[in-house]
Structure formats: C-alpha cells, structure tokens
Symmetry: C2
Amino acid sequence: MEVRLSLFGFGNVGKAVAEVLLGKDFLFRKRHGMTFKVVSISDTSGTIWLPEGIDLREALLVKRSFGKLSAWTNEYEVYNLSPEEAVREVDADVVVDVTNDKNAHRWHLIAIKEGKGVVTSNKPPLAFHYAELVGEAERRTIPYLFEATVMAGTPIIGLLRENILGDSVRSIRAVLNATTTFILSKMEQGLEFEMALKHAQKLGIAETDPSEDIQGIDAGYKATILHSLVFGPKTFRDAEVRGIVGLNPENLKEARKLGMRTRLVATVEREKILVRPEKVPANSPLAVENNENAAILETDLLGRIVLKGPGAGPKETASGVVSDIIKAAKLLG
Amino acid sequence: MEVRLSLFGFGNVGKAVAEVLLGKDFLFRKRHGMTFKVVSISDTSGTIWLPEGIDLREALLVKRSFGKLSAWTNEYEVYNLSPEEAVREVDADVVVDVTNDKNAHRWHLIAIKEGKGVVTSNKPPLAFHYAELVGEAERRTIPYLFEATVMAGTPIIGLLRENILGDSVRSIRAVLNATTTFILSKMEQGLEFEMALKHAQKLGIAETDPSEDIQGIDAGYKATILHSLVFGPKTFRDAEVRGIVGLNPENLKEARKLGMRTRLVATVEREKILVRPEKVPANSPLAVENNENAAILETDLLGRIVLKGPGAGPKETASGVVSDIIKAAKLLG
C-alpha cells in the first residue's frame, strides 16, 4: 500500500518527521505493509511538489544547508501556493500539518471535504474549532488525528480515544508544558523568574517570544483538546488559565523544602478546564522534571491510571505524527 | 448495532462484566451506538442459553443466591455443554473468555474459525499458543483481543498494539503481579514470607493455591504475552522465571532502610523474558504499592514512557474485557 503525504511545515518537527519516514522506510514496509511517498513539502518560503515523490534525503540537505526550500531551484520547481491552494491542488492521501499556523483549521477543513486524511501536531485548530473539524471528519469517515498536539508522541490521545472504551473518565490532572517545568525547577533553586526564563531561552527550551508557554496558553490549548475529546467540544475561550509569571522564587523554594514541587497543572473535568501553578507532593506523578509530561486519569472502573512520557522535542513529536500517519493509512486502506 | 455475546466464566470477573454491561447499557448505546445481548453464560455448573438474550439482572441474582447457574431451572433450560460445543452451537458475534481454563486455546481457535470474535482475560492460551491464535485471527481478520490478560484494564496492550506505531520498543520493565507486591511489602515490614502469604490469603488477595503468583508464573505469563506482542511470538517455556519464595525478610527490610523496594520485576527485550525479584529505588515507577502495576517502556523515538494503573480486581479486569468487547464490535461492525 502506497500512501501519498503532503507535508506542511519543515521546521524542527517537519524535518524529524522526514527523517523518521526516511530512516524507517524498510521497517514500515515490513511491519505495516506501507510505503510513504511525500509528494509535497511546504515551508514559509514555498512549496516543493513532485507527484512521483520527493527525495527526502535531498530535501533535508537543502533545508539544512540553505534554511529554506525555495533555495532548491536547480532540480525542483518551487511553487508559491497558499496552504489552501496546496491542499486543493496536490493529490495526496494524508495532509500532515506540523506548522503553527493559527488559521490552519481553514485548510484542515478543505482537506477533510476533499476526502483527505489529516494528521496534525498544530494545536490552535483543535483548541478553537474542535466541534467543526472532528464533526466534519466523522460525518465523512475521514481520519482526523492529533496525537502530537498533547504530550508530543506520548499516546494520551490514543489512550483516551481508542482504549478504556468501557470506562467513564471523571477527571484528568496533568502537567502538559515542559518549558514551565524547567523554569519552575530553576525557581525552586532560587532563581528569579526572569533569570530562569533567560536560561531556558539560551538552552532553546523557551522560545524568543515565550508568552504562550509562560502565560499557560499552550497548556490551556492542550487541556481544551483533552476536554473536547473526553467530555465534549469546548474552545480555549472556555478555559480558565493562569500562567507562571509573577511567582515568587522564595515561595517555591520554601515549598520545595517542605517536600512540595510547584508545577503548571491542568485540571480537566466535565465543563471545567483549569490551568494554574499548583503545589504537588514530590512523590506525586505530577512532580515531573525536565522534558517529562504526566497525566493522571480518574475513571469509574479503573480508578487511577498514570501516563508519563516526553512532552516536547522534535523526535518525540515526530513519534506522534508518524504514528498517526500510519493510523490514518490503516483507516484509509 | 446489536452485538451477541457468549460469556464463558461467571466468577468475580464474569459477574463484573455482566454488571458493567447492565449498568452502562444506555451509555454504550449513546456513546458507541451498540447494544449488547448476552445469549449464553457458562459456569462450571452448566450453560444458560437464550437466543433472545439473557436477563443479566436475574442471572446475577441467581448466581449470587445459589452460587451456580444450574440452580436456575425454573425459567431457563440449563445445558450441559463443553466449551467447544457451546462455542460451536451458540450463535454469537463475540466469545468472551473470563475463565481460567488452561485448555481454552482449543475453543478460542474454534471460535476464530467460525468467524466469531474472541475477547479474553485468560492468560494461558496467549502464553502458550500466541502464534497460532493471533495468526489464525489475522488471516481471517477476526478480532482476537486480550487487553485484560496484562495489567487488568490498564491499557498496556492497546498502547503497544494500536499506538506508538512509528516507534520501535527496545525494552519493557514492569511489575505485573499485585499479590507478590502485597507480600513483599509486608516482608519489608519484617513479616516472614509464610505469615505475609497467610495475611494475603485472609484478605482474598492471594488464592488458596497461591503457587502461580508466588512462583512468578502469573507474571511470567504476562511477560510472555508482552514479548509476543512487541518482539514476536514466544511461549512461557521461553521465559526465565524466579518467584519470591525463600526471600529473607531481613534482607528486604535492610534494603528498604536504604531507600530500595523489592518487587517482582519482569524484563522483556527481544528474545528475552525474565521475571525475578529485584531491588528498585523507592522513587522508581516500579516501586508500586497495593493493587498498582507499572510498566516502563523504552523506545527509540520517545525514550521513556511510563504507564501505571490497577493490575487486578474484578471491576478493573472487567474494564479491559468490556473495552475489548466494544473494540471487537467496532471491528466486526
């Protein structure tokens, strides 16, 4: 079975997806009976489009050498298409969105209506248009998959969507943002917020504009997606979100001495989406460190389940994207 | 969509399955568009069989009042059928095995060949005949599901089978038996093995014949099933298993003082199935208490994922069985 992919976004995650598809080509053929052919790649500079399939090795080389796909003019035509146009024109089975385009719901919807599967790690479409996107996909039985939007490739979405089908989930408590964990850990050691943030930026853990992470917006998007999945559609506007700006390191340090960790915790219950810094016992699954995210699910039959795993990183996010690509192909095939 | 079930085993787990199907009838209709009709129930006393569907409320009442289904002669004919005969004769969509029949692979195979889905919490069929059963089911695209064989309803099987599809699992380290955790915890407090075992038996945590648990056989079955699923078919005969008999409480107590817990740990890697008591740091995910099981997965893309949840209990096991029944129905429907 050959599956044609249209890849949107060729930053760190996009490159990691290409690397996994390239490096595991033989394995996926053997294990899943699937061959993936990337027929288009779009970055902010333009779209490379080749119905016979793009040489991913070369694409990665061009991107790494020149920083943009549009430099690749010796062999490939570079098209100047909006994502909407690219989704319409490129003949593909699955559209893969690893951009951070806040308006991507528009072209997700076009893809679904054209009968194309969608795999996304991009959160705003889900955090603002869940009902419309998932509803349309379900009506048309088109795969619309978004594992990598929450906890990167750690399969919290798959666990909730395709497993524990007989249980009713009562609540989810989770740490869903690794950047704030890093900053809070540093503050527990006594660093001022601004210093901790700068440290995170220097290490590439926080972005140049860190507002989505430190204001709790990223965690709020993720918590909203979990609510939509488990309890029914909501948008980010329904979420009550408080970030970590203004916290006092002395307070965190003191709490740490008493065996508590301060983490940005999301609580999701029916009709409730809450993100705020909370003190959790050091032996709680939520007292994560570094890159790790954690979710505690309370259900009626099982009681408590805990899932922990990486919550960020290109390879870790590519894991979720590629798993979804394989799932989408199975559902289409 | 109406799904006809043939239930084998009406002990604690079987009753819990019936209770969930009964209590969540309305929810499953709403959430999954499914109605479940139990057309036969077999216990060691006989088989109740009614193509129009058995009244589960009454079946539970009879079983609770008289201890056996064969007492139910005023309204229902009680048939004396072997499981093989029942599987052949009863017209059902899914055969549900919650017995501990060590020879159940025979009737699982008959069910698959007759085009019936199989859902099982019974371990020996999988631990000894995985290749044959799963192979036959795959050839015929019949659902053959076994979530509840490992970690009860905690969805370790679903996570490994239907998620992280792009990852290669390198190793699994897990605590898969709650009875030994209980006994070992008591021994860490200084109780002799025999006393700890008696305590567990009194509480109904260990069985009258506790050998499968304390000799590591139960954990070995589970580890074998995980190996078969992730790395390829093996049988329990390939497992290296050491139980907890003969451990010295002084040694465990001493380790505990040094911040270590002694647990029965399963290690599963390609071509390796090992179960033995090990000392793990108190802050390791494997340092579980009570009913909790834990698994640490190491994969190439994600690094480490941890899944924790209940590993035993009627309701907790029914969670896995019912989730699989819903999955089977979706696959058949």
